[in-house]
Structure formats: C-alpha cells, structure tokens
Amino acid sequence: MTRATATATAAKADAIVRCENIAVAYGGFQALQPTSLAFAPGQIHALVGQNGAGKTSFARALAGIVTPQSGRFFINGREARAPTVRQVRQLGLDIVHQRFTLPPSFTVAEALELVSAKKHGGAFFSFNALARSWLQELKAAGLEVSPRARIRDLPIETAQSLEIARALAGHAQFLILDEPTALLSPSGVERLFARLRQLRAQGVTLLVILHKLREVMEIADTVAVLRGGRLVLPPTPSVQLSQRQLSGLIIGEMPAAVPGASPREDASIPAARRGVQLAARQASTRQSALEPALAGVSLAIEAGEILGIAGVEGNGQRSLVDILTGLMPVAGGSVHLLGQDVSALTHHQRRALGLRVVPFDRLTQGASLSLPLWENVTVCDAPRFRQRRRLWLNIGAMRRAARAALQQFDVRYDSLEQAAGALSGGNLQRLILARELAAAPQALIAAQPTRGLDFRATQFVWQVLRALKEGGGGILLVSSDLDELFHLSDRIQVLRGGRLLGAFPPPFDRRAIGDAMIGAQR
C-alpha cells in the first residue's frame, strides 16, 4: 500500500481532478463515505467495485448531479463549489451516464443541442443549420450518423458514441464513463476501447467505471477500488496489480470457503413433493434495453433445494426471473413448472399451479403501498374467499386470514387498515413473505429477498426460506450478496452476460465464484 500512497501523493501535485473528503448520502443512506483521491492527467483511470460500492454516487457527485454531503473538489486546480452540471462542464469535466441521457423522441441534432454547452445559432435555431453544425462535430468525432435520425432508432453502440461525442463537443478534458461496456457487444467494447485510447492520445483524461476485471486490465492505466462506500485502493498503476489481488479487494477478504447448507435428506421430503419443481430448458429472450438477452439458459430446481444464482447485477437476472414468472415471454426454449410446460401460461396461471415470487423490488413490484395491509396479503388469493355463488368476497374471512398470516410472519403493524407504504422495509418484506409463503408453495423465486434489510430482518428471511426448503419447496434464490448465497444455497450458478455458467457445489469457493462473476481469468 505504500507504493499506492506514493502514487497518490505524486498525483496530487499536478492532478487534473482532486477530491477531498467527498461524501454522498441519499436520505439516511450513506452511499459514499468521505473519500479523498486525485487523478493524474492524460491517463485512463478505472474505478471498480461491487454494486452499491458507491461508484456511481462518486461519479454523480463529481459531475454536479448530486450535491455531496461534504467535501470539496478541484478541477484543474480550481475549486468547484456547490457545483452544478453546467459549472462542472465549464471547468472541463463531463460524464457519460450508465443510462443514456438523450431523449428517445428527439432527433440527434436536437438531443445534442439540448445537452451541449454552447448554443448553435441565436435564440431560435434553424433546423438545417443545427443539423449542419452538428454533422461537422460528429464527423470530427469520426461518427457516421445522420443528425436527423431519431435517438430511439439508434443502435445502443451508436447512442453511446453520440454521448461521448456530445461530451467532447463541450471540450471536456476529464471524461467520466459510468459502466460504458455494460450494454455493448464484445466487438463494441473493442471499438469503444480503441476510441478511449485515441482520446487519451489527444490528452483527454478518462475515468471509467467498470465491472469486468479483464476490461480493467485491458484499458486502465490506474485502478481505484471502492467497497461498501469506502475507498479501499487509491488510484494505483494497474501493472502493479493482478486480477486476483483486485478481485480480493473488490469482494473483500473473507474465508476462502464457506460451508454450504446442510445436505438434505430425501427421506424427510413427502413423496408427492419430490422431483423437479421448476426448470428452464435452453430459454432465451430478446434483447432488452436494460440487460443482455438470455442465451440458452437451462436450470432445474428440485424439491427441497435452493439453487443460488450469483452474478453482477444487470447480467440477465431480471429477465431470468421474468421468464420464470411469466412476465416476459421466452423467445426460444421453454419453462417448466412441476413437470408441465408453462411457457405459454400467464403469471396468473403459473401462480395457480403453485409458483410464488418474492420480487426484486418490494416497493414497486412487491406490494401496493396505498392499499391496506389485509388487502395486500389476500389479494393474490382472493378467489379463495368467494362466497354466495362466487359473487361476493368474504371480507371478514380475508381479514382473519391476513391477521393470521401477519402474525405468523411477525409483521409489526398498528391496524389492518393501515397502508402498506407505512411499514418499514423489513416489515414490508415480511408482509410479502407472509403473502407468498402462507400456502407453503412448491416453487418459490426469491429475488434479492434481503436487499436493504438489517441484520435481524435478514436472519428472519433466511430462516423462512430454509424452513420452506426443509418442507420440500424448491427455491430459486437470485442475489448479488455472496454471503447470502453461500449461507442458503445447495448449489450456485453464475449468470454473466445472459449465460448461466457452471454449477458450484459446496463448499463454495468465494474466489472461483467471484472470478466467474466478473469474468476474471487466472
């Protein structure tokens, strides 16, 4: 680490961007602890870390989009005080966001004009003049795209090149790219990297946020690592680091192997519940805007088993859950539930067969925040409460069932009538578990079931999942928390770039799984 400190000190002297104790908090959540670091000019710097490590928060603070809770930073030796996006741009710093920032219905010229620092034309522009002047800028950036094309019709790679061209047209000297490779094909990544090297040769300093170590090693001059909102490695020349060292820093030094869940005993599972509960065969999806398409994913979950899906977020997890639950159609292959091909069935029909889901986001998918607790608990089972020639619902019975379920899962609440939105995160997750697990389902999909929960709530969720498994349920656990996966899974598979890689049996090798997640080679 002394070498790294020396580099950091050396960089401080003539750093193009220097941060002192920058901290970012959203509400009560501390996304980035006070962090100081400096970037030397004319290099490609990489910033790496797991999801939630604070990378994007750091980038957004630098770009003037979020106001840091504390700290100061200097661009070219000039302090940016309470910076706005425009001020930061004038100082020569710009960012290419992870999500594209050009409005889909705009033409290329309009979108570029919206975000550009300098105006083309006076108060009113002529569309032709605008198109002409941007065509020149685009040509200068070596980009073949018509200024009249609509943003929504552009391929992803072109849209990204456009964002880079947009930033450079504002004469950025320091360019941040937030996960620029996430949506690109391998050849697209090649071309992007070639462009980045070209920019470096022109004297532009780049800060690239990356997930894949192979890419870091390929492109970066220096690497900095964030973990859990803390800087664990200041910018350090990448030649001094190995992929193994880096993956250790990113994931955190933990015991190399963790004992897996206790092996199940087939005898304890009721005979009716044996066999494959949930399976996908060579399932694939079409390209979505957010994630790579799934390519021939096959998996099978047996009764009394938890299959863990590890992976860096955005590698197809959402698509995987959506095709299994029926929210997204499969483009090829099939999905099977309890031995039946359910590829063509709706989510509702799959639920009727016994599939239950704890979705990724409890606030937007998991519950209706404005509805009372009892409705949230019973809504999926409403048909069960029909009475009198199925015309009416038995509200009293629904409330009784809800109360029993909430009690069983230890949800703390004031009144059954209170809106679900008033519950804390942990309590809301318990409510969702109460709803999904009340009938002891045969197949459960649990997506990030403990994200954002504190220790106690996490323990509770784990206990519930384990109990379901022991009762013979098959569980697919999707998580980006390796500890959780190691703790609960009987097997782990890694999802990367829409492909499901190898099966890892216990005892789990943190390093091997971590390497598979980020595509590191040994």
Partner: protein, 296 residues
C-alpha cells in the same frame, strides 16, 4: 358560408390561445387541468379592470398579472409542495369558477352576467355588404393568431427552452443530466400558459361579445386540452385541432339556427361538438399506438 368560416375562426381563437399556451405546460409533463380556470379568470379580470379603468389594454394587462400570480401558486403547489397536479389543477379551476362569480357580485353587484364597457378593437373593417361582410367581426387577437402560432412554434420547436421542456416532459433524467433546472423551467412553462390563457379569456369576453357571464368558458379549457392531445403535443397540429373543434362548435350553432323548426332537440345539437371531440380524440389515441403522446 362566409359567416360560417368567420364563426369557426371566432370560436377557434380562444381555443387555440389556450391550447398553445397549455402546450408549454403539457410538453413539460404537466397535465394542466387549470387552463379552464385561468381562461375564466382572464375573461373576468379583462372585463372588470377594463370596464373600471376604461381601457381594454389595462384590462388585459391586469388579466395577465392575475394569471401570472395564479400560475405561480399552481407551480408552488405542485412543484414545491408536491401536490397532485390534477387535483391542484381542478382546485384552481373550481376556485376561478366560484371566485369570478363571487367577485362579480361583490364589486359590480351583478348576478349571472355583466356587460363590458370596453372591447377589443376589430382592426379590419370589411365591406358592409356582400361576401366579406363578416370579417369585421374578427378582433385584433384573431388577426394576430398566425403570428402567435409562429412564435409558439419557434419557442417550442426551435429554441433551447422548447428542447428543455420537451426533455423534461419526455425523459426528466435527460434534462437532469443536461443540467436543466427542471423546477425553474416548469415555472416558466406555467407562467407562459397563464399569459396565453389570459389572452384566451380576453378574446372570449371582449373579442366578439362585450360581456362576462358566470362560467362563460363552459368547458373550453378542457376542449383546449383535448386539442393538445389530439394534436399530439405539436403546436401546428394543436392549432389545426383547435380549428377543428371551433368548426364543430360552429356546426352546432348553425344547425341550431337553421334546424330551429325541426324536431331535433336543441340540447342534442349543442352536444354535437363535444361528441365530436370525444370521438376524434379517441380515434387519435387508438390510431397512434405507440407514438401516442405520453402525459403523466
């Protein structure tokens, strides 16, 4: 026939002023349901101040000032206090409907309606007889309409402000990343809407007629919103939609005159323009599929 054309234009002018004014807000993602109220306030204040001070220009100036204030309040409610824009807009309209009736009885001791001492100039005097006799019915604002449409088109489609408003409405993330002050741009949009609605109200009260009556907008603000959606948030198409709704209205009025002796109930004919509005807006939404204007 000439009368029919002139009637269509006369009836369209307030719709187009309100529609194009509302377009600034709607493009910025604010479904401004308070347009109806702002038009009514504009009509009342023009008549009230205009009559009191004896100048239609002071009346219009006052109407603009009042609408700027009301628009600021609306902005404060929905942007700063995070009120629901539909409910706050409905509140604004209801406030104006009740408020104008109340102020009319409080200050002028009139109920139902009051006549105006002033009216907008009608700059073009046509021949007293013959084909073009009706053009003299058109007010100054009606003659200025093409210029107004051009300015709105330039502002919305050929200026930075227009790009920023469209980005805010379509994809706020883009506007944020572009360094646009979203809250301030929304305020500007709403203030412009307020000014345009003041003009729309003035045209309604002192353009052709010279009177204010309770709830005289009678749903025109909502028709203007329909014109915006029907025109898929484009200024030119919104203008055309405004003309179309004016035409439907003129058909209703004319058939009322000519079909006076027939058995068709008067109410049915008065309903026709609104039925046409619903029909065409539905048709438009159905036909446009994925390119339908997105308003939230």
């Amino acid at each position: 026939m000439e009368q029919f054309v002139v009637t269509t234009i006369r009836l369209s002018v307030p719709l187009i002023f309100a529609g194009l004014g509302g377009l600034f807000s709607v493009r910025a993602g604010i479904f401004h349901i308070g347009i109806e109220g702002l038009m009514l306030a504009g009509a009342f204040v023009t008549v009230a101040i205009g009559s009191a001070l004896g100048s239609v220009w002071l009346g219009i100036g006052g109407a603009i000032a009042v609408n700027l204030l009301l628009s600021w309040v609306y902005w404060f409610l929905i942007d700063r206090l995070k009120a629901d824009m539909i409910i706050a807009g409905l509140g604004l309209t209801t406030l104006c409907v009740g408020g104008t009736a109340f102020l009319m009885s409080a200050f002028f001791n009139k109920r139902g309606s009051m006549t105006s001492q002033v009216r907008l100039p009608q700059p073009v005097v046509g021949p007293q007889e013959g084909l073009l006799a009706y053009v003299s019915e058109l007010s100054l604002l009606a003659w200025l309409l093409p210029l107004f449409v051009l300015i709105v088109w330039l502002l919305l489609r050929r200026s930075r402000l227009g790009l920023q408003l469209a980005a805010i409405g379509e994809y706020p993330y883009a506007a944020e990343a572009a360094g646009v002050n979203i809250s301030r741009s929304k305020l500007y949009a709403m203030l412009i809407t307020g000014i345009c609605c003041a003009l729309a109200g003035a045209e309604l009260a002192v353009g052709g007629l010279a009177a204010f009556s309770e709830n005289m907008t009678n749903g025109r603000g909502f028709i203007a919103l329909a014109a915006i959606l029907f025109g898929s948030l484009d200024p030119i198409r919104t203008t055309l939609a405004g003309l179309f709704f004016g035409l439907a209205n003129a058909v209703g009025i004319n058939s009322q005159i000519y079909a006076g002796a027939s058995n068709v109930p008067r109410q049915f004919i008065l309903m026709l323009p609104f039925a046409a509005t619903i029909f065409f807006v539905t048709l438009r939404g159905y036909a446009s599929g994925r390119n339908a204007p997105r308003v939230s």
